[in-house]
C-alpha cells in the first residue's frame, strides 16, 4: 500500500481512500494519542491540539506520500513532535520537552516519521485517561463530555448537538472540567487494584449513559446519536481488554452489542418505534449477537456474583435466542428481573419484571405487581407505568379501563413516536366491541 514519490499509481482516487483510512485511524488512534500526550505533558489542551494537527497532516500527506505501514505510530510520532515544537516555543517546560524528545528520537527522524520500533512499545495510557475523565469528583455531565471529547475525539460542537445544549455551554463545561482536574489535582492514573471495585462502576455508568443517549434516539440528530452508540461500544471494548479481571466491563459490552444488533429492526420506515414483540427478527444482526454471547459467556465464566450489566445482558440474550416472539423464555426472564430487582431496588426494573411475569403467568399476575408499584409512587409521571397497565388490561379484555390508561400514558409520553404508538393502540381498543 505504501508508495513513494513518482511511483504513486493509486493516486487517482487516493484522496478518497486515504480519507477513509484517516477516518478509521481517527476512531482507532485518537484516544491512544491524547492519553499518551496528556501523560507526558499533563496539558490536556496541548494534547488535543497536537492530535488534531497530526490527523490534519495525515489528510494532507498520505494522499501524496502513501499511507504509512503503521498509521497509528506515524500519527503518534507527528503528534509528539508537534507537542515538542509547541513546548519549545513556550520554553517553560524544558523537562517535559526533553522527555518527549528522548522518546521521539528513539523512534524516528522528524522528516520521515515512520517509526523504527514496533508501536506496541508505546504504552497504552487510555486506561488512565478513562479513569481520570470518569473521576467521581467531576459532575456526571462533565465526565460524559470529557470522555467523548478526549477519548473519542468527538468535537465540542458535535457533543453539544448530541446532548441538545448550545456549543458555548458545552465548551464551558469542558473547560471547567479540565480546570478542576488541574486545580483540585485529580490524579492521572489507574486506581490501585483494591480501589477498582469502587471506581469501575462509575466508569461503566458513563459509558452506558453515552450508549443510551445514542440508542434512545428520542430527540436530536440521529446520525450523531448512532455515532454515540458506536463510540460507547469501542470504549467499552478498550476497557474490557485493558481490565480483563472486571467481568462487568464484558457484561456491559455484551449488553450494548445485544441492543445494537437489534437497532435496524427497532424503527420502521416511518421512523416509528417497533416493540420487541413485533420486530422483524430476520433483521437482527446475528453476527453481532454471537459476539455479544461470547463476551457474556466470558464474563460469567469469571465465577463472580454477576453484576447488573451481566444480568441485563443475560435478559437480552433470552430475547436474542428466541427465533419468534412466542418462543421467548419468559419464566427465565422474570427470574432474571427478580435477581436484578433484588440487586438494584430500582422501580424501573420492577416494572420490567411485571411485564415478564405477565408474559410468563398471564396479565392478571402482572397487574398485581403493577398495583404495588403504583401504590409506592416512585414511578409517578412515568408514561410506561400507565402504558404497561393499559397493555395488561387490553389483554384481559377490560377495554374501557385499557382506553383510559392509554390516554393517561399518551398525555405523559415525551416523544412523538411514543405518542403515535399509544394513540394507535387506543384507537385499536376503542374499535373493538366490548
Amino acid at each position: 500500500m505504501r508508495t513513494r514519490g513518482g511511483e504513486a499509481p493509486a493516486a487517482v482516487t487516493a484522496t478518497d481512500v486515504v480519507g477513509t483510512v484517516v477516518a478509521d485511524a481517527f476512531r482507532e488512534e485518537w484516544g491512544r494519542i491524547t492519553a499518551a500526550l496528556i501523560h507526558q505533558t499533563a496539558d490536556w489542551d496541548l494534547a488535543e491540539e497536537c492530535a488534531q494537527d497530526a490527523f490534519t497532516q495525515a489528510l494532507r500527506r498520505w494522499p501524496r506520500d502513501g499511507v504509512p505501514n503503521r498509521p497509528g505510530a506515524w500519527l503518534m510520532t507527528v503528534a509528539r513532535n508537534g507537542a515538542i515544537d509547541r513546548l519549545r516555543r513556550s520554553s517553560t517546560y524544558r523537562a517535559k520537552v526533553e522527555e518527549l524528545a528522548v522518546m521521539a528520537a528513539r523512534e524516528t527522524d522528524t522528516d520521515n516519521p515512520e517509526p523504527a520500533v514496533d508501536d506496541s512499545a508505546v504504552p497504552d495510557e487510555r486506561l488512565r485517561l478513562i479513569f481520570t475523565c470518569c473521576h467521581p469528583a467531576l459532575a456526571m455531565e462533565a465526565r460524559v463530555a470529557l470522555t467523548l471529547r478526549t477519548l473519542t475525539g468527538l468535537s465540542t460542537a458535535e457533543i453539544a448537538r448530541a446532548f441538545l445544549v448550545p456549543e458555548a455551554t458545552m465548551a464551558k463545561r469542558l473547560v471547567r472540567a479540565k480546570q478542576k482536574i488541574a486545580n483540585a489535582r485529580i490524579p492521572y492514573r489507574v486506581p490501585r487494584a483494591s480501589a477498582l471495585p469502587e471506581r469501575v462502576p462509575g466508569v461503566l455508568a458513563v459509558l452506558y449513559l453515552v450508549f443510551n443517549e445514542g440508542y434512545a434516539a428520542s430527540a436530536g440528530d440521529d446520525l450523531i446519536r448512532r455515532d454515540l452508540c458506536d463510540r460507547a461500544v469501542i470504549l467499552t471494548q478498550v476497557l474490557a481488554e485493558l481490565l480483563p479481571g472486571e467481568p462487568e466491563a464484558k457484561g456491559l459490552l455484551a449488553l450494548m452489542l445485544f441492543h445494537r444488533a437489534r437497532q435496524a429492526a427497532r424503527v420502521d420506515d416511518q421512523g416509528d418505534l417497533v416493540t420487541l414483540e413485533d420486530q422483524d427478527r430476520a433483521r437482527w444482526d446475528q453476527a453481532q449477537m454471537g459476539v455479544a454471547r461470547r463476551y457474556l459467556a466470558e464474563a460469567l465464566a469469571a465465577g463472580q456474583r454477576p453484576g447488573q450489566y451481566q444480568v441485563q445482558a443475560a435478559i437480552a440474550e433470552c430475547h436474542a435466542a428466541a427465533p419468534v416472539a412466542q418462543a421467548t423464555d419468559w419464566p427465565r426472564i422474570a427470574r432474571l428481573y427478580q435477581y436484578l430487582a433484588d440487586m438494584t431496588g430500582s422501580p424501573v426494573v420492577e416494572l420490567n419484571r411485571a411485564v415478564a411475569v405477565a408474559m410468563a403467568d398471564g396479565p392478571a399476575a402482572g397487574l398485581a405487581l403493577l398495583r404495588r408499584l403504583e401504590a409506592d409512587g416512585a414511578l409517578a409521571g412515568y408514561y410506561l407505568l400507565p402504558a404497561t397497565r393499559a397493555d395488561f388490561l387490553r389483554r384481559l379484555g377490560r377495554l374501557e379501563e385499557a382506553a383510559r390508561a392509554y390516554e393517561e400514558a399518551a398525555a405523559l409520553a415525551g416523544t412523538a413516536p411514543e405518542r403515535r404508538f399509544l394513540n394507535a393502540r387506543l384507537a385499536e381498543v376503542r374499535s373493538q366491541p366490548a
Binding site: H135, K180, A184, P187
Partner: protein, 237 residues
Amino acid sequence: MRYMLIHAADPDLAGLWDDEAQATFSDWVEETIRTRVNLQGSRVRPSADATTVKIRGGELIITDGPYAETKEQVAGYDLLECASLDEAVRWAGRHPSSWTGAIEVRALPEWAPAEPLPAPADGKVRYMMLVCTDPAVDPREFDRVEPVDPWVEESDGKGIRLYGSELEPPGSARTVRVRKKQAIVTDGPFAETKEQIAGFDVLECDDLDEAIEVARRHPMARLGLLEVRPFWPFGAD
C-alpha cells in the same frame, strides 16, 4: 483565644475588589502578622473546584461541588489569636473581604493548638477540609459519633494533617459585612443553610484521591459532609 475568620465571597460584589481593597488587604496581612495576631491563613480555590465526600449505607459517595449551595462562597480563612470575640470581629471589619462578601467569626475551643502551618512541601497540594453537618441526618444519631482522636492521630502520623480543630457552635458565631463603609455585624453564620461548618482541617496530600481517602475515614463522613477544597497557592492565578 483563637478565632477563625471564614471569608465568604459574594460573586455579585467581586468587582468591588479594587486597588484600594488590595492595598488594604496587604496592610491587614502585614499588621496581623507583625502583631502576632495572625497564626495562619490562606485563600482557597473557588467552590467549583470543591469535592464533597460522605458515606451513607456503607457506600462512599463523592460529589462535585461544595457542602451547600450558597450565594456567598467560602473563599479563604484566617486564624487569629485575640483577647475577645469583639476584637476578632474588629479585625474582620478591617479586612476588605468583608466589603465584597462576608466574614464569619468563629471561636475555637480553648484547647485548640496555636501552631502556624509549615512551609509547603514540594509536589504536594494543600486542601482545606470543612467538616459539616448534614440536615438529612437525624441529630440523635450524633450521640453515636465515634471519637475523632484515632483519625487525628492516624492523619497526623502520615504527615497529611497539618492543622485542624472543631469550632464552637455556629450559634455563637458573628458575621461581619461592610457596606458603604459601615460594618454590619449579625449573630450566626454567614449562610442560612441547614448544613453548618462544625470544624476544619488543613491537609497536605499527593493528590485529590489521597485527600478523599483521608476524608472518608473521618468519623463525620457517616453523619455529615466533608468538603475538600484546594488551597489557592500563593502567587498563582
